[in-house]
């Protein structure tokens, strides 16, 4: 293993973006970092709020209309290599907000996240379980480590 992947694997920075979900997933993700029970930091994964420092972008929520542009900007300002995790049913397919009224298009919900930025890993659940977030982060690691 060369030096780059060696050091990258020891400092994975998560950035969390809320795009209009119900707060449930967001708290579970913050919980998975802060709570001593899950403690994602023991695997050298840290939470950051600075896009220029981040490696992995975790997106929750169905992406409301006003959140579309900021989400794109945040994605563009993350340096390469980067990975995106869509967490929760809202981020995966728009959730109840987009789908409860059948095929009628929604004016407010621009999601799912895939429509706006490319997604590397999908974590299902309403709300996501902290353990699943961990495995989602692990699933994106090869992309980060194998890049130049």
């Amino acid at each position: 293993m060369s030096l780059k992947p060696f050091s990258r694997a020891r400092a994975v920075h998560l950035m969390l973006v809320y795009t209009g979900g119900c707060n449930g997933c967001d708290i579970e993700i913050v919980n998975c970092v802060l709570s001593p029970k899950f403690d994602i930091e023991q695997y050298k994964v840290f939470l950051t709020w600075n896009p220029r420092e981040a490696d992995v972008l975790v997106v929750t929520g169905p992406v409301t209309k006003l959140n579309e542009k900021p989400l794109k900007e945040i994605y563009e300002s993350i340096p390469n290599p980067k990975a995106v995790i869509a967490a929760g049913s809202c981020a995966l397919m728009g959730g109840v907000y987009k789908n409860i009224h059948g095929d009628i298009p929604s004016e407010e919900i621009m999601g799912p996240v895939e429509n706006i930025i490319p997604v590397d890993a999908k974590v299902p659940g309403c709300a996501v379980r902290p353990e699943d977030i961990l495995s989602g982060v692990v699933a994106t690691l090869p992309k980060l480590l194998e890049a130049d």
Partner: protein, 377 residues
């Protein structure tokens, strides 16, 4: 106050510090503008709206049961409170008497949720304060509550416990669950009393929180603040006293005098033992019998409204039923009226404490985001 005699805002403002909508310090998307003079906040303005999902409009025309399930998705912190109040609204209109046992289970769920919400507030508050050790300790205690909620409701956040006529059969509390709840309550009581002791005695926390973000009783009344934020200013107002669901229970209303960050944090810490008391009573006196009564009929009724006390204050739901479908739904969450308190609390404090002043009112903007404009009184 009429339009004419409103004080004219200062024309030239020295500095404006704008935060948001996605910002490191804020856990939820909202925008706050702080007008600063010599690092003292002179005026603050909070704007929400990026989270608007139009839940009330989606609810329009849905079958009542489906709409009830949707209200749970209004908020990820007090999700049980929303479905409970929405079901209560329908039950009020249709004249349904729920079995006594299901009412007790609803109260157990409601109080467990209050516990996890207050623990989250304490954790978040201490993190913003800069005391990460306290924050982590509180998050560790909170796990006990989350496990209990997962055991009863089947999920960590969205439980869907209440349905019209009772609670879902999977939320039945049997012997084994009773035992686990009681064990959990013992752990929590010990943990929170230890935390409260350390919190009160810590001189660093005291210097950082005392006299910061003060809301006076007069301001609180003017701004129609609800919930623990109101009780922290010394007004003993709790809707649980008047709710008929809670009439068999014995608990105290905690009040604090100062209305600053310290009394807000301590207030929630002291409300936790009261919730534990209610849960212990509910588990001890759990009546025997069925938990679900499906022998009700749907008919049309005019607009029905229902208020309950949720962790953050008073929650209001109202809708009419027409051919089994929801019409004219209105949801008003407690953070809506607490936004005024957040703005007022910032004024006169150092700009570095502004975030703390906002957090002390326990904001939940994701569930509040349904209004178009906040009118400042």
């Amino acid at each position: 106050m009429t339009e004419e005699n409103k004080p004219v805002k200062q024309e030239v403002i020295e500095t404006e510090v704008a935060m948001g909508t996605v910002h490191p310090a804020a856990l939820e998307p909202y925008r706050v503008r702080l007008f600063v003079e010599d690092e003292i906040v002179m005026d603050a303005e909070i704007t929400i709206g990026v989270n608007h999902r139009g839940i009330e409009r989606i609810m329009e025309g849905l079958p009542v049961e489906k709409a009830n399930a949707l209200t749970e998705k209004v908020c990820g912190i007090c999700s049980n409170a929303h479905i409970w109040n929405s079901v209560l609204t329908a039950e009020k209109g249709l004249g349904i008497e729920v079995p006594e046992r299901s009412n007790y289970i609803r109260i157990i769920m409601g109080e467990l949720e209050r516990l996890h919400s207050h623990f989250l507030f304490l954790g978040h508050g201490n993190e913003v304060l800069g005391h990460e050790t306290f924050s982590m300790r509180v998050f560790y205690l909170r796990e006990t509550v989350m496990e209990l909620l997962r055991m009863i409701g089947g999920n960590r956040v969205q439980y869907g416990a209440s349905i019209i006529g009772g609670v879902r059969p999977r939320c039945e509390i049997d012997e084994m669950r009773t035992q686990k709840i009681l064990e959990g309550m013992d752990t929590l009581e010990k943990g929170i009393l230890d935390f409260a002791d350390r919190f009160v005695l810590d001189p660093m926390v005291k210097s950082r929180t005392e006299g910061i973000g003060v809301i006076t009783q007069k301001q609180a009344k003017e701004l129609e603040v609800t919930g623990p934020t109101l009780r922290a200013t010394g007004i003993a107002q709790d809707l649980r006293v008047t709710m008929k669901e809670y009439e068999d229970f014995d608990f105290d209303i905690i009040t604090m005098d100062d209305g600053d960050v310290r009394s807000n944090l301590l207030m929630r810490a002291l409300e936790i033992p009261e919730s534990i008391k209610i849960i212990r009573q509910a588990v001890k006196n759990l009546p025997k019998g069925p938990i679900l009564d499906r022998s009700w009929e749907m008919f049309d009724c005019d607009s029905i409204k229902s208020y309950i006390e949720v962790p953050r204050g008073t929650l209001y739901h109202s809708y009419a039923i027409e051919e089994g479908r929801v019409r004219g739904s209105i949801i008003r969450t407690p953070s809506m009226s607490n936004i005024g308190a957040m703005q007022t609390a910032c004024i006169g404090d150092h700009v570095t404490d502004a975030q703390l002043c906002i957090v002390q009112c326990d904001p939940c903007f994701t569930c509040t985001d349904r209004a178009i404009k906040v009118i400042k009184i």
